[in-house]
C-alpha cells in the first residue's frame, strides 16, 4: 500500500492512516477495549462483594437447590457454542446457517433471562430485596441483585444486539466481521457468568 493510498480523504495532506494496532480491525479492537473495561467493572463488583462477604459475620446461605443455576449455566455455555457456529458459518459464507445459529443463540439468551427472572421472583417472594434479607444482613440482597442484575442487563443487551445484527446481516447490511464482534461480546457475557456462579451462588449454598 503506497503512502498516497494511506492518505485520508478529505484531510490535510500528510495525514495518514497507519496500520491498525496488532493488525486488528478497528471494530474488533473497539469491542476488545470495551471487554477489558467491562471486565474491570465486573471484577470491581465481585471484589466489593467478596470484601463485604468476608467482613460480615454470619453471611446468609439462602440457596437450597442448584437445579436452576445449573440449567442457566448450561444454556449460557451452549449459547456460546451456537454463537461460534454462527460466526464460523458467516466466515465460510453460509449466510442462512449463520443467521439460523445467531437466532438460536438469541433464543437461548432469552431462555437464560427468563430463568433468571424466575429465580429473582422466587427470592423476592421469600422476602429478599435490595435493602432487606430475611436471613440476616441486607448487604446480601444488595450484592446479589446488583451483580446478577448487571449481568442480566448485559445478557438483555446482548440479545437485542444478536437480533439486530442478525437481521441486518441477513438483509445484507452487515457482514461476517459484525457477527464476530457481536460474538466476542456474547462470549464475554458467558465468561463473566463463570465467575458469578461460584462466588454468588455456589459459595452461598445451604447444605
Amino acid at each position: 500500500m503506497s503512502q498516497a493510498d494511506l492518505t485520508m480523504e478529505g484531510h490535510a495532506p500528510g495525514l495518514t492512516v497507519g496500520i491498525p494496532p496488532f493488525s486488528i480491525p478497528a471494530k474488533k479492537m473497539a469491542i476488545w477495549l470495551f471487554i477489558i473495561a467491562d471486565a474491570a467493572t465486573f471484577a470491581a463488583c465481585l471484589v466489593a462483594y467478596g470484601f463485604i462477604r468476608n467482613g460480615t459475620p454470619s453471611w446468609p446461605q439462602p440457596f437450597h437447590s442448584i437445579t436452576n443455576v445449573a440449567l442457566m449455566t448450561f444454556i449460557l455455555l451452549t449459547s456460546s457454542l451456537t454463537m461460534l457456529l454462527a460466526v464460523r458459518a458467516a466466515h465460510v459464507g453460509d449466510k442462512a446457517s449463520a443467521f439460523r445459529w445467531m437466532m438460536i443463540t438469541a433464543v437461548l439468551g432469552i431462555a437464560f433471562g427468563l430463568l433468571h427472572i424466575r429465580e429473582w421472583m422466587g427470592l423476592i417472594d421469600e422476602g429478599m430485596t435490595l435493602f432487606h434479607n430475611p436471613w440476616g444482613t441486607p448487604l446480601f440482597g444488595a450484592a446479589f441483585f446488583s451483580i446478577t442484575g448487571l449481568h442480566l442487563t448485559h445478557v438483555t443487551g446482548g440479545v437485542v444486539a444478536l437480533l439486530a445484527v442478525g437481521v441486518r446481516y441477513n438483509g445484507g447490511r452487515y457482514n461476517a466481521s459484525d457477527l464476530e464482534v457481536t460474538g466476542l461480546y456474547w462470549h464475554f457475557v458467558d465468561l463473566v457468568w463463570m465467575f458469578v456462579v461460584p462466588f454468588i451462588y455456589l459459595l452461598n449454598l445451604s447444605h
Binding site: 496488532f22 471486565a39 474491570a40 471484589v47 470484601f51 461460584p198
Partner: protein
Amino acid sequence: MVDAPHDGAARYTDTVGKYLVIYLCILVLAALQFVIAYTHVSAEGMFTRMLFVAIAEAGLALLFFMHLWAEKRGFLLFVVIFTGFVLLAMQYGWTDSFRMDVGVPYSQPKAGVVQQ
C-alpha cells in the same frame, strides 16, 4: 488452526469438532464447580478451588471461543497483561476486609490517648 493472513488479521478455520471439544471441556469444568460446592472443605479451600476452575474455564473461553489464541501474540500479551494488572490492583483492600471481621490485630492504645 490459524491461516497465515495476508493483512495480519487472524482468520478462523477451526473445525466444529474442535469447538465441541472446547465446549465439552468448559462444561466439565463448570460441573466440577458444582461438585466442589458439595465437598466438605473449608470456605477458603472451596473458594480457592472454585477460583482456579473458573480461571481455567475463562482461559479456554478467551483463547478459543474468543479466538485470542489466533490473534497476534502481541495482542494476546496486551490483553492478558493489561487486564491482569488492573484486576490484581483491585486486591489491595483485602486486609481491611479481615479487619472488619476480626478487628485490628495487635492493636494497643497509645500512651496518653484517652479511650472513649
